[in-house]
Point group: C2
Chain length 358, copies 2
């Protein structure tokens, strides 16, 4: 363990998510304002981006970055680390913008996706292409700006250099996850390990482990604390995504705000589907292969798939995988002398992200 961990307790509201979210969004807005002033050519693109950022999002990565910082004994002026946390959100916006282009998604956060809203004003004949190209460019710009926000956040040089390998790792890892996902999508298969590799890269490492690491290193954490975070983050990140996969098929759209047909139509290669295909009889497997990945799948077809996911025990198996992972993450929390506020936040994260219904 990092010897500084138990020395300094963050204030009682230091990790309050509403409070932190306010600070992070304020920083993001100030950054966008400054760029509007500096880059008059980009004002319209920037306002599209602002609309996207303010429409929603849980700010999980910035919040975990702040948890990491406090866990490693970060104290004093939070300004610089808030900038770093906000830069993770900006990087995430980049991944979402490109993800929506690649999936040709029409909605995100209950609004039209950016490549759709960017079509506005273009000639009808070229609108779709213009929207897509503008979104690719805007995504690129947002990635560049996530760096700029980090480097202008006031973090001292030594810490910036120390955090760089983690940042590089995070970025490459999320790309690996996206690429494995791209290779697998539309072709669900029995390979549970492969589906777990995707969520390890795309979610466990990118969303949970690296933000904690980055925050911790910005407060000077040693490797021992990073290892503890890894031991916590990988199971909880996997559990988070396994829950997401279940909700994507069995969830209540009025609660999740997400269609229960999209994952099935897309043919997402989840652990749920891998377990089902593995346990399925010949007829069940045939049904799954014909229905999953069909872009025109209707609710009746989806209900057939759900029946097979239940009958093969795949749904129960994924619930069990979640339970196992939650237990592993909780064990790490039990064994680690985190400051109270940090522990509370990490415990809440376990509950809200894996036992959730939305």
């Amino acid at each position: 363990m990092n010897s500084t961990t138990s020395l300094r307790e963050p204030g009682a509201d230091a990790l309050d998510s509403v409070h932190l979210r306010g600070l992070i969004d304020e920083r993001l807005n100030a950054f966008l304002d400054a760029n509007c002033d500096r880059q008059p050519h980009l004002v319209s693109l920037i306002e599209h981006l602002r609309g996207f950022l303010t429409a929603g999002g849980k700010r999980i990565r910035p919040l975990l970055c702040m948890v990491g910082w406090h866990a490693a004994g970060g104290y004093g002026d939070t300004g610089p680390v808030i900038g770093a946390a906000a830069s993770l959100e900006l990087f995430h916006a980049f991944t979402l913008i490109h993800d929506d282009v690649m999936d040709a998604s029409d909605t995100r956060r209950g609004r039209p996706t950016l490549h759709r809203t960017l079509e506005t004003g273009a000639d009808a004949t070229t609108a779709e292409r213009f929207g897509t190209n503008s979104a690719i460019l805007l995504g690129d710009l947002v990635m560049v700006w996530s760096d700029e926000l980090l480097y202008s956040s006031g973090i001292d040089h030594e810490r910036l250099v120390a955090v760089r390998p983690l940042l590089d790792a995070m970025r490459t890892e999320v790309m690996i996850g996206q690429y494995l996902d791209l290779l697998a999508t539309g072709k669900p298969n029995e390979d549970v390990e492969r589906s777990l590799a995707v969520i390890r890269y795309k979610t466990a490492k990118y969303t949970v482990e690296r933000p904690l690491h980055i925050g911790a290193v910005l407060a000077g954490a040693d490797q021992a604390l990073l290892d503890v975070f890894t031991a916590y983050a990988l199971p909880i990140g996997e559990a988070f995504q396994l829950r997401d996969d279940l909700l994507g098929v069995f969830g209540d759209p009025s609660e999740t705000g997400k269609s229960v047909l999209d994952d099935l139509r897309e043919g997402k290669a989840t652990a749920l589907m891998a377990h089902a295909l593995h346990a399925a009889g010949a007829e069940q497997a045939r049904m799954l292969r014909s229905l999953v990945g069909d872009p025109d799948l209707d609710e009746a077809g989806a209900e057939t798939v759900r029946g097979i996911l239940r009958a093969t025990g795949a749904a129960d198996k994924v619930e069990q995988m979640i339970t196992d992972r939650v237990q592993r993450a909780r064990r790490v929390l039990d064994e680690t002398p985190f400051p109270d506020e940090v522990r509370k936040t990490l415990e809440t994260f376990v509950t809200t992200t894996t036992l959730r219904t939305t």
Copy 2:
């Protein structure tokens, strides 16, 4: 002027472009090899990228980065600055990969574009989408890796921090150029200033000014040297692109390796076209507007356009713009006490990039 400039002469072959190109490509290959070892999931993508990088490209940006470094008195081990120079080439590869996706181009450097080669092996029904998505992702990855290459190049921390704002500026500027280009393409207009703004961002600043600045700052240059480079780079960068625009319409495809129909079919909003529209009579303007931007334009139509570009004096006007800019750049060279090798390289760059036929 930077007081160190005339103190230290680089060796006679320090800026030899064949020699430098060898060093830069060696570094790029070593970086890709290391990533193949570290990221087995990405080996196939990396080999596509290697094919792209080795197929061609003039390495202008890395070479100018080295010029900047030597001009500012850089000396000793060139290893770190070669890494920085190579990282500019990697960043440039990112812009080209995404550019080809956005333009839906089929060829680049005499080979199929990456989004086309990445289609290989995918199901026929989804191949195009898979190729495009893989290329978007690969572009993203290459941008991330350009940073990683820079930060792992052995440049000391102080210099890395000093160069950061220039790198951020370069990246944002090229995006601005791309975006202005996107807004203007297909709708050629009389606005010469706007067409010059595009090439200032996309070429003059991105390709010439910033690489010189970045190399110079890595050797500790002061603002005076950066200002000299700006005074040289902006005119010569504009001249470079103005020449490119002329060759894109009047060039000899057997020499340029580039179709003389593409720019016209795409409706590229060049200064050449702006001058022509400005000077055109009603009938000439009508012809230009109906032919330029027509994706099915044939050689006969192109010849009509060329006739109008000559008759309106637009072609001569652009030649004059090139001459003016070459003179301005040469004046800067005359007035600045650059080391001999640096001067020679900058003079050669003027000649080869603006008086070229390819």
